[in-house]
Amino acid sequence: MGSYVPSTLSERQQMLEGMGLKKMEELFADVPQNMLLTEPLDLPQGKSEFEVRRTMEQIANKNVVFQSIFRGAGAYHHYIPAIVKSVISKEEFLTAYTPYQAEISQGILQSIFEYQTMICELTGMDVSNASVYDGATAAAEAVAMCKERKRVKALISATTHPDVIQTVQTYCDGADTELIIVPAKNGVTDADALATMLDDTVSCFYVQQPNYLGVLEDVESLGSLVHTAGAKYIMGCNPMTLALLKTPAECGADIAVGDGQPLGMSLSFGGPYLGYMAAKSAVARKLPGRIVGETVDIDGKRAFVLTLQAREQHIRREKASSNICTNQALCAMTASVYLTAMGARGLTQVAQQCMSKAHYLADRLAEIGFTPKFSNEFFHEFVTDSPIATKQVMCALEAKGILGGYPLGDELSGCILWCATEQNTKEEIDTLIAVLKEVCGK
């Protein structure tokens, strides 16, 4: 049986006796005795490290690792530099708690401060928090930030990732906020519809850029509409694309959020990822979660500390701006190391290559009958229809170790959401096309 209890049986006995006790059971006298478990838990017997490894490897081997991935839809297969894993696997970073004891937590604190700096730089915003769980909860928290006494409705574009819409919906249900979905038209937010839906009961509008279908929204115009109606403008952005795209600040956003997974986090079946949140100064005090600030110690030395805690649950309890406590600190550090290793030049390269490869892929796909569904400019994802059943497409690709695009449902049923990243070499793309050609009988 495995165990991580260092004290030996005789030491335990000795410790008990020192307290005048005989048996472990005596320590649990306060537990209703009729509730004590009388049978062992119905769990497997404890295992040695050797057996645990074998067991878990057997489970892992039931998964299929694709060598070539053309699927995004919220989780992106980017290259992770070796230095990133090397840094974040340091046991100190991995095992420390939230940095309450600033004097011995300067490493974590400084890394969060550096993360905040980089997020502000990417988004153009004034203030970033230390992270939240993921892009979806970041969106939900952003919507919650905007609620005002009379502005009790929130709007969200239908072109947002469905998981984000659903998560925001759940949070709004909790807070009794009405969430209304602004319809899409030609793969982008229907600006006319938005204009008619905006009124003085609307607290905010959330739009995703590039949107769920990969298409670039006309984010500046949407922002103007929103601000004209006196509501707040929230943009959900893939941070990688911000190496090239107009920043949320330049587009007039009050709050920028998104999922930081593209910044050095592996796919990991959906998590852990990273939710980033950044805001203009005007709404900064409403930001939920940890924020690290720079200060000095009593000797005047530069130091960092969790600050503005008066917003937080451990001080304000039911009046807190959010309940968030544990966030995704190590993922924030991951993003920092990633952004440092890439630098502006490298991140721009990623964005440029993602976009270029997606366009190359789209062109090749179009040639063999996978016609683009929307005409607007896209970034590194795009929707096509499929000349044959999508299931057939995916099976043929899977047989070659390729994960094809994501088959969409509902009104886009029969369509495929493709994604290319810097990891997809031209050779890989050409192979994909060759396989598709064959399966389509061309």
Binding site: A60, L244, G271, G293, A303, L308, T326, A329, M333
Partner: protein, 479 residues
């Protein structure tokens, strides 16, 4: 020390990517940002050194004793990390076809099965990413339950005054009004007060047991009955499950819904503040409301449910912090049935042993046999020698020990909440006891030195007030 951006030099950097091997697409100028982001430009040598410096300014569990009360800073086994790093887990896209992710689904299903057995629950969702996220989710389950029964009057959640701040905050987010119920002198819920606040507007009660003063509320069965009799549901905050797992089950004591902190009880590391995992378990009466998608057995394997009409919906993208669940499952498989109980017993033994080694000098907030943690009150030391909980904490820093949680729970003055965990040896406890005792004597003989502590740390006490008054929340570039 310098920020990484302050070490940046124009033109430096790493060479990570090759040139683009397809024709380059460019965006119209109207869509591009006006200036490139000012990210650090640093060579790998200096990246490595920067984070080494930060590492040396960080105290992890590997650096020494970490008795941070309520946080369960147990040792994080290395095998967990190796398993989570397997490419067959880390390289799986969340939207792969189901037949290609059977291993991932098995991880969730096995973890659910085992954790339900440990807690006495019937089903579990792994979507919540942390404890507070689990609380919010669990409260939404309660809300959905009452709503499904047309019981729309239940707008209040009862929370003891000793609760973690997340409890009331989560209840607010779920749209509830909070009713605080005070603790008695013995640290437990005041039953009479509880009876007086419970009623037809009670949606439920949130309770941590063992509670935040480290005691097992022996009236637990009465408490859950009072709530149930009033038509409310009972929420178990699993923060302190480490003390009782394998000993007694929340589900057996009348709890209907629970969250766990896998990053506390189940040995997944805390990461300097996350990622964690806060799965929510519930009894069958709440199962239909769990976040979607859940999974079910299908043939030899598993499949995601396609319909969940009563679900509260989603609380997160995809399925939760999957790799954290992998680590927790690895840990549960290691400990097994007996090991889980052994861990709880020794967590409690270690806490009592250390309390016992200190109680002739230090005042314990509650003299009673504790569970996995105990609370010291330094009120007397503060009054007599001017030495506060903060001072003792900072004195511990100079002795290589991470301080206990300070000033929590709020109901104890000058509190230090000490949780050794079961992964510490008797030797470590003995050494820590000596340090605590030494500091007590220092407090009496040379209190000034403790006001000045720490002196051996990379920085000393900080100007926190200045930080909040004049917030500097990012590096300000020179223009």
């Amino acid at each position: 020390m310098k920020l990484i951006i302050e070490k940046s030099r124009e033109g430096r950097g790493c060479t990570i990517l090759p040139e683009c091997d397809v024709p380059v697409t460019t965006l119209p100028k109207s869509q591009t940002r006006s200036a490139a982001p000012r990210l650090p430009q640093i060579a790998e040598t200096d990246i490595s050194r920067h984070y080494t410096q930060l590492m040396k300014r960080t105290h992890g569990v590997n650096d020494g004793f970490y008795p941070l009360g309520s946080c369960t800073m147990k040792y994080n086994p290395r095998i967990n990390e190796e398993i989570a790093a397997l490419p067959q887990f880390s390289k799986i896209h969340p939207l792969q076809p189901q037949h290609t992710v059977q291993g991932c689904l098995e991880v969730f299903a096995k973890a659910e099965q085992y954790l339900c057995e440990i807690t006495g629950m019937d089903a579990m969702s792994f979507q919540p990413a942390a404890g507070a996220h689990g609380e919010f989710t669990g409260l939404l389950l309660i809300k959905a339950y009452h709503k499904s029964r047309g019981d729309s009057n239940r707008t209040k959640i009862i929370v003891p005054d000793s609760a973690h701040g997340t409890n009331p905050a989560s209840a607010t987010m779920a749209g509830y009004t909070i009713v605080n119920v005070p603790s008695q002198a013995d640290g437990c819920v005041d039953i009479e007060k509880l009876k007086s606040v419970v009623g037809s507007d009670t949606a439920g009660l949130m309770l941590t047991n063992p509670n935040t003063v480290g005691l097992f509320d022996k009236n637990i069965l009465e408490i859950t009955k009072i709530i149930h009799d009033a038509g409310g549901l009972c929420y178990y905050d699993g923060a302190n499950l480490n003390a009782v797992m394998g000993i007694v089950r929340p589900g057996d004591m009348g709890f209907d819904v629970i969250h766990l902190n896998l990053h506390k009880t189940f040995s997944t590391p805390h990461g300097g503040g996350g990622p964690g995992s806060g799965p929510v378990g519930c009894k069958n009466l709440l199962t239909p409301f769990l976040p979607a998608p859940h999974w079910h057995k299908e043939g030899e394997g598993y499949a995601f449910d396609t319909e969940s009409p009563q679900s509260i919906g989603r609380v997160k993208e995809f399925y939760g912090n999957f790799l954290v669940v992998v680590k927790a499952l690895t840990y549960i498989l290691t400990l097994g049935s007996e090991g889980i109980t052994e861990a709880a017993q020794n967590a409690v033994l270690n806490a009592n042993y250390l309390m016992n080694r200190l109680s002739d000098l230090y005042d314990m907030a509650f003299q009673h046999t504790c569970m996995h943690e105990f609370v010291i009150t330094l009120e007397r030391l503060k009054k007599e020698h001017g030495v506060s909980a903060m001072d003792i904490a900072k004195g511990l820093l100079d002795n290589g020990i991470h301080p206990p949680t300070m000033y929590f729970p709020l109901i104890v003055h000058e509190a230090l909440m000490v949780e050794p965990t079961e992964t510490e040896s008797k030797d470590t406890l003995d050494e820590a006891a000596e340090v605590f005792r030494k500091l007590y004597h220092t407090a009496q003989t040379n209190p000034e030195s403790l006001h000045n502590a720490p002196i051996t740390t990379p920085v000393r006490r900080l100007d926190e007030v200045g930080a909040a008054r004049n917030p500097r929340l990012k590096y300000e570039f020179e223009l």
